[in-house]
């Protein structure tokens, strides 16, 4: 477990954060300038904070009161940088095995296994100059993993890639998370990445921690929508693939009933997370009839949160999940939406946010 408590004065800006990151993927989320980079640099030892106490699994990395500040090379924290930073004078294989020697790792070399997981086995004897952006980030990820770290810092690892390259890398990050090995602190300002990858989210704003919590809880909290971005706000629905059907749809079972999606890659039985954008959910007090939308789920209003200009965010209990719906102020009054109101959620669009490790298999 990573425990971070630090204050640092920057020109015109004070960083004052305090959080712990459990096992799994913890996303450090916030807009640019929120203090994410300063925080990861302090954790990695690249920056000496004014005052801090940082421990990893009980090991003290920084304790300014006791004048302890381990240099980066003694922290056993590997970083995947936004710009890859592969060594240009080394081959892919040499890049991958760079950290192993310094870590004095015993036992069989993990390189073949990691290379297989990241699909870079064919690149091993190549130089790094011919690699695409996506291949570079996979090699950078492999290089970090193979240095035997106690924590993996990912500092906006996808920010420099276009959408197609991002989509190429994300399944590998999911595999890594589902393999459940090294804990990851994932820095990002992109909500789709965070919704897809994170187990835990730390929301950072103007140098302070706004909230720390489970990804599903935070994403379905209407009060936090302003941090996630009013247009992007949306919650997660847990589902299991039931069957792929002849008309090109995939049926998935949620705790509140079936939903249908255009055919997805995951195999029947696979657990998936569906991302439901708040503005793509329509509410109805009675079960709608003669509607083209396929996905209609019974729901109970749990919270109504007004936010000027963007309408009203309604939090709904759908089976065991909480989702958000955005409606206008007028509709909220007309439908008399109160906590406890039973209604139906019509979900216009759903995207697979996250699949299990079956992807790519």
């Amino acid at each position: 477990m990573l425990s971070v408590k630090l204050t640092h004065q920057l020109p015109g800006f004070t960083l004052d954060v305090d959080f712990t990151a459990p096992a799994g993927v913890t996303a450090l989320f916030g807009r640019s300038g929120a203090g994410k980079s300063t925080t990861v640099h302090a954790i990695g030892g690249l920056l000496r904070p004014d005052s801090a106490q940082i421990t990893l699994d009980g090991r003290v990395l920084t304790d300014t009161a006791a004048r302890v500040h381990l240099p980066p090379y003694r922290r056993q924290i590997a970083t995947v940088f936004q710009d890859g930073r592969l060594f240009p004078h080394l081959s892919v294989r040499q890049n991958l095995s760079y950290g192993r020697w310094f870590a004095k790792l015993q036992g069989p070399d993990d390189l073949p296994r990691v290379a297989r997981m990241l699909d870079i086995t064919a690149l091993l004897d190549r130089g790094i100059h011919g690699l695409s952006g996506g291949e570079r980030q996979r090699v950078a990820l492999g290089r970090a993993l193979l240095s035997g770290p106690q924590l993996l810092l990912m500092d906006e690892p996808l920010a420099a890639l276009d959408e197609a390259r991002k989509a190429e890398i994300l399944p590998y990050l999911e595999r890594l998370r589902d393999a459940g090995g090294v804990p990851v602190l994932y820095v990002s300002h992109a909500l789709d990445e965070v919704a897809r990858l994170a187990n835990t989210i730390v929301i950072l704003d103007a140098g302070r921690v706004v909230r720390v919590g489970g990804a599903a809880d935070l994403l379905s909290d209407p009060d936090l929508a302003s941090y996630f971005g009013q247009r992007q706000a949306g919650a997660i629905l847990h589902a299991r693939v039931t069957s792929h059907q002849a008309d090109g749809l995939t049926e998935l079972a949620t705790s509140a009933g079936s939903v249908w999606l255009p055919r997805i890659a995951a195999l029947p039985g696979a657990e998936v997370r569906l991302r439901v954008p708040a503005q793509d959910v329509i509410l109805s007090r009675s079960r709608p009839d003669g509607l083209s939308a396929l996905n209609i789920l019974p729901a109970t209003v749990t919270r109504v949160s007004g936010d000027e200009g963007f309408g009203v965010l309604v939090q709904l209990q759908v089976g065991t999940d909480l989702i958000l719906a955005r409606v206008t102020q007028r509709s909220a009054v007309a439908l008399d939406l109160q906590p406890g109101t039973a209604c139906f959620a019509i979900v216009k669009s759903v995207a697979v946010a996250q699949a299990d490790s079956g992807i790519g298999a």
């Binding site: 980066p72 090379y73 924290i77 004078h89 081959s91 310094f102 130089g127 100059h129 011919g130």
Partner: protein, 238 residues
């Protein structure tokens, strides 16, 4: 070779090569260290060190030779100490010629290496650190391989400058045949002798031939290094 070179010419040529070789070999590690300090560290006296390194490039060589004589002469502060402690004498010896050549060539060498170090992305070194490499290992495994072409260029420049060094050498260690008479000194001597014209021409030809060989060698070496680095980083891997 003895058939077409006189003993005096062989002696001057051999001495020049020996002086330049040792000037380059001894100053190279120091040059890398100083270049690294100047490129990567900010410390009190940074400007002073920078100035000291470049001073021989700007001063008249005769001044540099005079300063060397005062400091490294037998009566000089450092010279006397080295003589008594290690039996190492510079004054009027070929070692002094090597010292003078090394000092004169040092700024050129440091400049070439410093430019190479400044071209290395510090973020690569930072990345190596996060992978567990201590600063010394970062230098050996990342910085050094990347600046190898620069080091080579610096060494070639140093050698070439040492081959041609004249002013500081003749001031510091004089012009003693067989001990401190390098090719430039020999040319100077021949110029002073009435009817020395043909001798001058022969020595000039020898100097030119050496220069051409050195340039060809440097080209070949740098191409090899460039190919090796490109081969690792840009190769198809098949």
């Amino acid at each position: 070779m003895g058939d077409w070179l006189t003993p005096m010419e062989i002696s001057a040529l051999g001495l020049s090569l020996r002086v330049s070789f040792w000037a380059t070999v001894v100053s190279l590690p120091l040059g890398v260290a100083v270049a690294w300090l100047l490129a990567r560290k900010r410390f009190w006296g940074h400007g002073l060190l920078n100035g000291l390194v470049y001073l021989p490039l700007i001063l008249p060589p005769v001044v540099t030779g005079y300063v060397l004589l005062i400091v490294f002469g037998r009566q000089g502060l450092v010279g006397a100490f080295l003589d008594q402690t290690f039996g190492l004498v510079f004054a009027f010896r070929w070692t002094g010629a090597a010292l003078a050549a090394g000092v004169m060539a040092f700024p050129l060498m440091v400049r070439a290496i410093r430019l190479a170090i400044e071209a290395v992305d510090p973020r690569l070194e930072q990345a190596a650190g996060t992978l567990g490499a201590s600063p010394v290992w970062v230098f050996v495994t990342v910085t050094l391989p990347l600046i190898l072409p620069g080091i080579l260029a610096g060494a070639v420049l140093c050698f070439a400058k040492a081959m041609g060094e004249f002013g500081a050498t003749i001031t510091f260690v004089s012009n003693i045949p067989g001990e401190t008479q390098t090719l430039p000194s020999a040319i100077y001597t021949a110029l002073q002798v009435p009817g020395g014209g043909p001798q001058v021409v022969r020595l000039v030809l020898i100097s030119t031939a050496i220069a051409m060989i050195a340039i060809a060698l440097a080209e070949w070496l740098s191409r090899r290094v460039a190919r090796r680095i490109a081969g690792r980083s840009g190769g198809a891997g098949a």
